[in-house]
């Protein structure tokens, strides 16, 4: 294991986060606060409770997930796309590092950052609504698992993307709709029949549901299913990455 290489990449990636502290941390905090103002206060005042939880508190897990997904994907995709774009990838390709080490370093850095942002949003939320977390361990486990899974997904997008437009395309066209259909702001029981069925195809449903269970002890789908689907998506991403590195897809000509 080339520990020095993993650490070198990880440090550079984290240094970029620190350099762009304002947009990487402050902006999710601001947008979360806005969600609370709009959804929690304006809409929430018309919705009493969902599953015995106040609407303001109910949306906290979904909001964290929303940021976690977008942050994981954008961090990881940018992290590997950027060296491709400016050409510094040559150094990575010529270095004595294994694929596993590259993935650990980039995905690890992206996941660290998005997990931190998730926790910051959690802290921000607690300023708006009283929060009690039923299963803190599982909450953290889902947080990290999701961060890692979607950082892997972002890594794939970063390797696939040939232009900055493409880099934005997947988050815009797929991830945002999936998140909104993923029960972030409502219980999927509240949807009409056909939509309910459609949302069950969104992996985000399972993430949010599991995460919400960790908070309130109640969920749309069972914990086992949540965990299983998340892990399945994780392994799918790992498989794609393994294939990418084996074939040199979009990395080596």
């Amino acid at each position: 294991m080339n520990r020095h290489a993993i650490w070198a990449i990880y440090r550079v990636e984290m240094a970029r986060t620190v350099r762009t502290l304002l947009q990487s941390v402050v902006s999710p905090v601001i947008s979360t606060s806005l969600y609370f103002v709009v959804f929690g206060a304006a809409i929430g005042s018309r919705i009493d409770q969902i599953d015995g939880v106040s609407y303001g508190a109910f949306i906290v897990p979904g909001l964290i997930m929303l940021s976690l997904l977008t942050q994981s994907i954008s961090n990881a995709s940018f992290g590997i796309y950027f060296p491709k774009f400016v050409g510094t990838i040559y150094e990575l390709l010529s270095a004595p590092v294994s694929y596993l080490e590259i993935v650990i370093a980039y995905v690890g850095a992206a996941a660290t950052k998005s997990t931190a942002i998730g926790l910051i949003i959690l802290a921000t939320s607690s300023l708006f609504v009283p929060l009690h977390i039923e299963h803190p361990f599982w909450m953290l486990a889902f947080l990290i698992l999701t961060a890692v899974t979607f950082s892997l997904f972002g890594f794939i997008i970063g390797i696939w993307a040939g232009t900055f437009e493409q880099l934005q395309l997947v988050p815009l066209l797929i991830v945002t709709p999936l998140t909104f259909l993923g029960g972030s702001f409502y219980s999927i029981d509240m949807l009409p029949g056909i939509w309910r069925t459609i949302t069950l195809f969104s992996p985000v449903v399972y993430l949010v549901s599991g995460f919400r269970w960790a908070f309130f002890g109640k969920a749309d789908v069972s914990l086992g299913l949540s965990l299983g689907m998340t892990l399945a998506f994780l392994f799918a991403c790992v498989a794609v990455i393994a294939w990418i590195f084996r074939t040199g897809y979009r990395l080596r000509t």
Binding site: A8, I9, R16, V86, T88, S94, P96, S98
Partner: protein, 308 residues
């Protein structure tokens, strides 16, 4: 001993269908400075990129110090430092952190003293905490050299090292290359400047259209380079070169009308003046004469033309 780099039957066809390398065989010896000389588009960068693991080859094998670049890629790659042709640097990093990163990436533990020494050798020490984006092109090139040296490679590739480089950096760079060679580092540089190959290399390989057309010691090339020919058009054809002129190694054309005298700078053969004197003594008259100066440039152009 195994060669520093052994390239055998390496060819490359890009996805576009373009055949950039055609079964290249090449051995690089330990501790030498090897110049890969060829016109733009000859395949120099492609070959280097394959050895360094940046481009996949279509066929053939490459080993570095006996380590196969696929099977023993860690060992092979950790021996190599690469300064690529294009200026590509992480703009927002500082100079020192860029070198520290490269060293770590190649699996070496941090060594601030060594990084300091490299930065000083490259006249970058004053700029150590500057963001790379604020540096001039020449300075960025120095940073790239520093990055390549940060993990103390045993083999250094310099791809078109003097492209767009000012005189000062060129001199610094060559001084550094010589120092590295003295410390046992093998150096491979690519260039399309003949003077550069002449000035720096121990051996020169000429590549054209994806084929190695010549590999030779520089001295050998220099001999060819220094070679001159004097051609004499005779008034009256000769049947044979007269005995008295045997010491000159003259060549007589088939029709007996032209005498060619080949001599070079280092040669022991008597000079042109004495030949002309001896011709007069022998009563051989000539109508015209001209001299040919065969330079490396000419050899190169000939080779390249022949191959195409």
């Amino acid at each position: 001993m195994q060669p520093a780099i052994a390239i055998s039957g390496v060819s490359k066809t890009y996805a576009s269908g373009f055949n950039a390398l055609k079964s290249v065989d090449l051995d690089i010896k330990h501790g030498e400075i090897f110049a890969l000389l060829g016109p733009n588009g000859a395949g120099k960068t492609t070959l280097i990129s394959i050895v360094c693991g940046i481009v996949n080859r279509s066929s053939g094998t490459v080993s570095v110090n006996g380590n196969d670049i696929d099977r023993d890629y860690r060992m092979a790659r950790s021996l190599i430092g690469l300064v690529p042709q294009e200026l590509t640097v992480e703009s927002f990093e500082t100079v020192r952190s860029a070198l520290t990163f490269s060293r770590g990436l190649f699996g070496k533990p941090a060594n601030p003293a060594l990084i300091e020494q490299i930065l000083k050798d490259l006249s970058l020490w004053d700029k150590r905490d500057a963001k790379i984006i604020t540096l001039s092109g020449g300075m960025k090139r120095r940073v790239m050299i520093g990055k390549a040296l940060a993990h103390e490679p045993k083999i250094l590739f310099l791809d078109e090292p003097s492209a767009g480089v000012d005189v000062e950096l060129r001199q610094d760079m060559w001084a550094m290359v010589r120092r590295l060679r003295e410390s046992g580092v093998t150096i491979i540089l690519t260039t399309h400047y003949i003077e550069e190959a002449e000035e720096m290399a121990d051996r020169v390989g000429v590549i054209n259209r994806g084929e190695i057309v010549l590999v030779e010691n520089k001295e050998e090339l220099m001999r060819k380079l220094g070679r001159k020919q004097l051609r004499l058009e005779l008034r009256h054809p000769l049947d044979a070169v007269p005995q008295a002129l045997a010491g000159y190694g003259l060549e007589l054309s088939a029709d007996g009308g032209t005498l060619t005298y080949t001599y070079d700078n280092q040669s022991e053969r008597p000079g042109v003046a004495s030949l002309l004197r001896d011709l007069v003594t022998e009563g051989i008259a000539f109508r015209d004469l001209d001299t040919l100066n065969s330079s490396l440039e000419e050899i190169f152009v000939n080779l390249v033309r022949k191959a195409s």
